[in-house]
């Protein structure tokens, strides 16, 4: 058994990865050329927000929004046009709510990183309504 395969099986036994992930990793090891071409590296293009009523609340509102990630990125960059006074007010309001965020410190690189990380974002909230936020 080679070293990489042993590591994958160790991670599986420790519960760090699921059986499906282990299978995918092992198949990638066994034929790197083939998997290299078949791995889906498609980047997400849209942020989806879906709100659906629960089965008990069939008359509830339904919302289905698809926003291009590029538009979000452009919108975030527009934050730099907010006048400094207004930015200070926003920062103060956020601090009052207990959110430690400083609009003045957001740089274009941070915005790029933020949008890139949205790929991994998945939010599922179930209550009276089911709310799903994800990228596709």
């Amino acid at each position: 058994m080679n070293e990489e395969r042993k590591k994958i099986l160790d991670m599986l036994s420790q519960g760090k990865i699921t059986a499906e992930e282990a299978e995918r990793l092992i198949s990638a090891l066994s034929d790197p050329g083939e998997t290299g071409s078949s791995v889906d590296v498609r980047l997400p293009k849209y942020l989806r927000v879906m709100v659906e009523p629960s089965p008990e609340n069939k008359g509830g509102d339904r919302v289905n929004i698809r926003v291009p990630l590029k538009l979000i990125k452009a919108g975030l960059k527009l934050a730099s046009f907010i006048p400094k006074d207004a930015r200070t007010q926003v920062n103060d309001a956020l601090h009052e709510k207990g959110i430690n965020m400083d609009f003045d410190k957001i740089r274009p690189e941070d915005i790029d990183n933020l949008v890139a990380q949205l790929d991994d974002l998945t939010v599922d909230v179930e209550g009276k309504e089911t709310v799903k936020v994800f990228c596709e």
Partner: protein, 91 residues
């Protein structure tokens, strides 16, 4: 890509509502030349404001208009509330 078509559907409660496809490219045919024609004036304004540091903001704002226009394609909003249905899709 620039959005070329707008699919719009509005249906208020107890009304028939309407559903239309708008040729958005016609809108751009009018608006884009206007935005481009404003370019030299924006540049002039930016030069005049460069002394107090606001010139860069003006130029970035002008650039942002194009960025937003070109990123709008694919935007879809579908809201089905109790009293109205609103749907729009930029294609």
């Amino acid at each position: 890509m620039i959005p070329l078509l707008l699919q719009l559907r509005i249906k208020p409660k107890e009304h028939r509502g309407f559903s239309i496809w708008l040729p958005f490219f016609l809108f751009w045919l009018i608006v884009l030349p206007l935005i481009l024609a404003a370019g030299p004036f924006v540049l002039l304004a930016a030069l005049m404001m460069s002394k107090d540091g606001r010139g860069k903001i003006v130029l970035n704002g002008y650039k942002a208009i194009f960025v937003v226009i070109f990123c709008m394609s694919g935007l879809k909003v579908d809201v089905q509330a109790k009293d109205a249905v609103i749907f729009f899709n930029l294609i």
